[in-house]
Amino acid sequence: MGNSMKWLAAAALCASAIGAHAQVNQTRVWAAACASCHGTDGRAQPGMAALAGRNQAELQKILLEYKAGTRPATLMHQISKGYTDEQLGQIAGYFAAQKP
């Protein structure tokens, strides 16, 4: 195969390699921090609330209630206060999009 073919093949490989991995998204990395307790991508082991596939609005409401101190908690009221309302909404959106 000629030089031009080699370039084409290499370019195709490059394109597919880049296409295969979209940029690591900040929201995904924020959500990954929650996975320590709530399971990778929100698929929890027994004893913790699973987050994957939950309704975004419902998750966001719960998180904001924790943050406001209007929802009983042992710990989530303290964690949620470290995040802006917008960040909580984005994280809720990430988990809502995951397969349960």
């Binding site: 490989l13 991995h21 690591v24 900040q26 320590s36 990778t40 470290g82």
Partner: protein, 425 residues
């Protein structure tokens, strides 16, 4: 070029790069990118798994770990207290390879060549890397002359790396006669797991209370005061172990006579214990020190908190207990797990020729058992400060348990199941 030859070339991406066919591509996430992770604890195992996840399995990841399985330090004090078993705190590495395609190599790293970008294994092999992630945990500093004597380290235990010493410490406690004394010596902060020694005192006392009611627990702390969850621990000691646990601050250990279980302090009288449990001064894991990465007081590795890249060597990332921590950041398994994800996201981005995510934000949670069932926590949230170029605790977030509870005991066990799975499954 025939199709098969081309496919082979894809497999050997560096060969393509060498031909000049993929200039820029090999460094932007081609299938040739190689990440080697050293150490399969909370930091390294998590980093290995998440490099695979964040790269859609396109980056080649090899994890080098000497132990056959992961044994968790968190929850290991329950084993010391007789409330759990080694099997319960052990997780295999097989899921990392079977589910995520991480190549798990059971070996030690003998040396690292940062210029050639290779690691030399104790078994003799050599592995190339594009980026190296070091998570070697802590090792102990040789500051106690008596601990270097033959047999001393097998008699005066630390049990601060969960494994055979956890079992051995439990056996020493079982062999101690009723009325015998258990002494634990705590080094100056920073050390691995700030609340861990106080939790261990609780667990030993919970065992004594039932099995050896005349026995005592004495805590010798080099620090000026209890370093973590002070009010919650002192309340537990008064409520559950009154007259059994004695706390002595400002006791800096300078030597140990292992033959007689005698602790020798800088300013205070010697103390002879039935079981002496000594946590020596700690520093970054030996391989990090040997590679010249421990630039903070020759103890801890300074890193860029956006990427966890070493400030001493390019393309080497350090995370977990080995790093020079940011303000208010504990050396904990939970934190190492968070480092692993932040580092993985950065490594994948950099290998794709992109910038690492700019706003790291993560939490820490430490649960401590004060009885076999009652648990207290401390939590904090940490975010990247672009001006200070470090992680800072978010003001107003985080905090302590209001009181010890069985509800948090259940959460602590669920936390362990989840973080083990998140790191290793």
């Amino acid at each position: 070029m025939k199709r098969r030859q081309f496919v082979q070339s894809i497999g050997a991406g560096s060969a393509l790069a060498g031909l000049g066919l993929m200039s820029g591509c090999a460094t932007t996430g081609g299938s040739s990118a190689k990440v080697v992770v050293v150490g399969g604890g909370f930091g390294g195992a998590t980093a290995a798994k998440y490099v695979r996840l964040f790269s859609n399995n396109s980056i080649d990841v090899t994890l080098i770990e000497p132990n056959a399985a992961f044994v968790s330090c968190p929850m290991s004090n329950l084993v010391v207290g007789g409330h759990s078993t080694m099997a319960e705190i052990t997780t295999p590495y097989s899921n990392l390879s079977q589910r995520h395609g991480v190549k798990v190599v059971r070996d030690m790293v003998d040396s690292i060549d940062p210029v050639k970008r290779t690691v030399k294994l104790a078994s003799g092999g050599e592995l190339p890397y594009d980026r190296l992630i070091l998570s070697p945990g802590i090792d102990f500093m040789p500051t106690l002359p008596g601990m270097a004597k033959a047999g001393a380290a097998d008699k005066v235990l630390h049990a601060w790396k969960a494994g055979p010493q956890t079992v051995a410490l439990r056996q020493q406690l079982e062999a101690l006669p009723d009325g015998g004394t258990y002494a634990i010596s705590i080094p100056l902060a920073p050390y691995r797991c700030p609340p861990g020694p106080y939790e261990r005192a609780c667990m030993v006392a919970s065992y004594f209370k039932v099995a050896k009611p005349k026995s005592k627990v004495v805590i010798f702390d080099a620090n000026d005061d209890i370093t973590s969850k002070k009010g919650l621990f002192t309340k537990a000691w008064n409520d559950h172990y009154a007259g059994m646990i004695e706390y002595r601050p400002k006791h800096k250990l300078v030597d140990v006579d292992a033959a007689t279980n005698t602790l020798k302090f800088e300013f205070n009288d010697d103390f002879k214990a039935g079981v002496a449990n000594v946590l020596p001064d700690m520093r970054a894991g030996n391989i990090a020190v040997k590679t010249g990465l421990a630039t903070a007081n020759a103890r801890w590795c300074e890193v860029d908190f956006l990427t966890f890249e070493s400030k001493a060597q390019k393309n080497i990332h350090v995370l977990g207990d080995s790093i020079q921590i940011a303000p208010a950041m504990p050396k904990s398994g939970h934190m190492a797990n968070q480092h692993g994800k932040t580092c993985a996201a950065a490594v994948v981005s950099l290998l794709q020729g992109k910038e690492a995510p700019a706003n790291p934000l993560y939490a820490n949670t430490c649960y401590s058992f004060v009885t076999a069932k009652d648990v207290v926590h401390v939590a904090s949230v940490h975010k990247y400060d672009t001006e200070k170029k470090t992680m800072v605790a978010v003001p107003g977030a985080g905090g302590l348990s209001s009181a010890a509870s069985e509800i948090e005991g259940a959460y602590a066990k669920a936390w362990a199941r989840n973080i083990w799975a998140d790191s290793l499954a």
